[in-house]
Amino acid sequence: MSENKKFRSKSGKERTVRVIIYIFLTVLCVIWLIPFIYLIFQAFRGESTSMVTYIIPRKWTFDNFIFLFTKTNFGHWYLNTFIIALFNAVLQTVIVLCVAYALSRMRFKGRKFLMNLMLVLGMFPGFLSMIATYFILKLFGLTSENAVPGLILVYAASSGMGYYIAKGFFDTIPKSLDEAARIDGASRARVFFRIIMPMAKPIIIYTIMMAFIAPWGDFMYASLITFGHEEAYNVAVGLYKWLDKEHISNYFTIFCAGGLLVSIPITALFMALQKYYVEGVTGGAVKG
């Protein structure tokens, strides 16, 4: 500490560097915050629903939110998205953990092949499969008015390919733990539930969180599968339409209000679980 103090007092250069960094970071933060502040201001603006040339509203109001729930299908969209997100969080987490455990802990014929196959499949652009996915869902009758179960199915079905981060985490749990338990007569299934699962809490939370958040932002699949049936939209598809040329002058502040309602719970959840997110992301990036 004393050394640190000496160093600080000695070097005026160090102080200027720090001041520059503070200024830089503050400017950065302001730039990063502007769109969100703008969003909040617009959501509560009362004098008109179109875009205006000033930032701070002249009249503050809740009308936009009331309009959302009384005059539009926003409530439906919100509920749809919430249901999808909830189911997706459960199904996707189960699937990802199963795949990750099998590929991390067990050695079987075809394991390498399977991993390479999923790697190659991941290189195809997601859209390529969209049209066929649509027809397959249609075969099961899960489009338009039944789009909610259809979307849950689509999200969950392909989630097995996103096992990398969870597998990377399982890889770091020492294998000797499994082996000790297996010598004591525990089956693989028991090892999975009793030993690995309790240790995998951070990655389970990370997976649940990502699986819950993803459906809120999905536009491409949802727009295709819900096509032509407004009540089945999710929030992204519903709100997107309000910013096109015909609607924007009547719906701009409504869009902002809706966007705010979507953002608040997601952001709150994200911030609360930030620690796990950082762990998952850095772990995933470093180990590939």
Binding site: I21, L121, S129, G160, I213, I266, V278
Partner: protein
């Protein structure tokens, strides 16, 4: 950096050793690349050998098997019934029965339909009142049924192979005097030695139905003329061979090369975009991380939290809003004009160059926080003694960055750089939500615009233009681009190979 002998290497302090490793990695890159290219023919040869061995194995089973095993080649599960594995036998026999029923009822019809995808789409007849009635006959989308049938056949062949193999194994066990596993043991092992089968069954079924089959379907579509003028159920589409690829890469049927031109231009922009977007985010994100994590800087958590908010807010809200903020009559232009800084509106999205710069800049807004998080994690792990010794040697801050921080970061996050490069090639959200590909230009075919990436063009072609055949071709070409880049990098970088090292 020259290669040290083992003794010299071990004599180095651990920190320097790490640095040496990193230097060696970059020095070996070109060699590894060459090595990889040499490996391709070898890999193909090995593949062929494996296929050969597979069929030889089947032949061997038939030659070496007893009569029960041989009958099982035709009647699945036959051998199992005689070897006290009745449970397995019933399953195999049942599957064969089901398969035969399916194929005779539907399967062969579907497969036959694949040949010309239907001959007559609709029949118009007059009903009793003299009104025209349209009856739908063939539908080219039956191709999907054909694809499903193909996968069922493949699945059946695989089951058949397992069946004969199990017969053979059981036969050998009995010859040795061991009793093959009973059905109850089979079930039990699904929770133990074969637990992976239990774990992977559902996920793999999902991937097969919703990823593999659709991709296979779209690859087939690339060889048909399925587009807006051949939409079922009113019209039929059929096989056209490699015509679509020719349209895309050279000239189309009418001799115009507009599609090829558009494709080339968009491919180049996609690669430029991916390169700049990846590296600008990478370096600026790292820079911000270094600033925030610098010794003596306070409010680290506040800065970090504010930046991370962009990750949390759903992109369709934040990006759509940003795109409207920079619109011609958006808030940015208005405020700048109110302040008297500009007199004419800046056309952020309506000229190609400006729009391209804007998407790259806004992408920084999206990407920097993410990189900042990753870089923070990695920076913490750099051994502190590296910096200590550098300081003693009198290295400046900049030199420390280029000689220690940067190589270390690149070494550790190499695989991430690759994934983020390929993710940027397919970065739909940023482009579509910001510009939707605009500004559109007449120079491009297929509704493409100045900021369109291949992936957003693919979207426009499918959803807006219904030009499925061309979309399928683009999808395949995107795959080839991504696959080639990934294959090379995966094979060259060491981090991907040593999977077992972590455990």
């Amino acid at each position: 950096m020259s290669k040290l002998s083992e003794l010299e290497y071990l004599g180095l302090p651990p920190a320097k050793r790490k640095l040496h490793d990193i230097g060696q990695f970059f020095a070996r890159l070109p060699g590894n690349l060459l090595h990889f290219l040499k490996k391709i023919p070898l890999g193909i040869w090995r593949c062929l050998c494996a296929v050969g061995r597979f069929f030889a194995g089947i032949g061997h089973i038939f030659a070496d098997g007893d009569w029960k095993t041989r009958v099982s080649f035709l009647v699945m599960g036959f051998g199992q019934f005689f070897r006290r594995q009745i449970g397995r036998g019933i399953i195999f026999l049942g599957m064969e029965g089901l398969f035969i029923w399916f194929m005779s009822m539907f399967g062969f019809g579907y497969l036959a339909g694949m040949k010309d995808l239907g001959t007559q789409a609709t029949v118009k007849t007059l009903n009793d009142y003299g009104l025209e009635v349209v009856t739908y006959k063939d539908n080219s989308l039956k191709i999907l049924h054909g694809v499903l049938t193909i996968f069922i056949v493949i699945g059946f062949l695989w089951t058949w192979y397992i069946n004969i193999k199990q017969n053979y194994t059981a036969q050998k066990l009995i010859e040795k005097g061991v009793r093959p596993k009973s059905f109850r043991n089979d079930i039990k092992s699904l929770a133990d030695e074969q637990y992976y089968k239990t774990l992977l069954a559902v996920p793999l079924l999902g991937i097969t139905i919703f990823t593999i089959i659709p991709i296979f379907f779209m690859i087939l579509i690339a060889f048909t003329n399925y587009d807006y003028s051949h939409l079922p159920p009113d019209k039929l589409f059929g096989w056209v061979g490699l015509d679509n690829f020719q349209t895309m890469l050279a000239t189309d049927a009418s001799g115009s090369d507009k599609f090829a031109y558009t494709f080339r231009e968009i491919l180049i922009w996609t690669l430029i975009w991916a390169l700049i977007a990846t590296f600008s985010n990478y370096f600026l994100g790292m820079f911000v991380a270094i600033c925030i994590n610098r010794k003596g800087i306070r409010f680290k958590k506040v800065f970090r939290t504010i930046l991370v908010m962009t990750i949390a807010v759903p992109q369709f809200v934040s990006l759509l809003l940003v795109s409207k903020m920079f619109a011609d009559d958006g808030i940015v232009n208005s405020v700048l004009m109110n302040w008297g800084w500009i007199t004419e509106k800046i056309k952020f999205w309506t000229t190609q160059d400006m729009a391209r710069i804007m998407v790259l800049v806004v992408n920084l807004w999206v990407g920097i926080p993410y990189l900042m998080l990753i870089a923070t994690g990695v920076l913490m792990n750099i051994p502190a003694d590296l910096y200590e010794s550098a300081k003693i040697d009198g290295a400046s801050g900049f030199r420390q960055f280029t000689k220690i921080t940067l190589p270390y970061m690149l070494f550790v996050t190499g695989p991430y750089l690759l994934t983020s490069f390929t993710a940027n090639i397919n970065n739909f959200n940023v482009i579509y939500l910001l510009t939707a590909g605009a500004p559109k230009t007449m120079a491009y075919e297929g509704g493409a615009g100045g900021t369109d990436l291949l992936i957003t063009w693919l979207y426009t072609l499918t959803v807006t233009n219904n030009d499925y055949k061309i979309a399928a071709v683009i999808g395949i070409l995107v795959f080839i681009v991504v696959a080639v880049i990934s294959l090379i990098v995966y094979n060259v970088s060491p981090a991907m190979k040593n999977e077992e090292d972590f455990q």
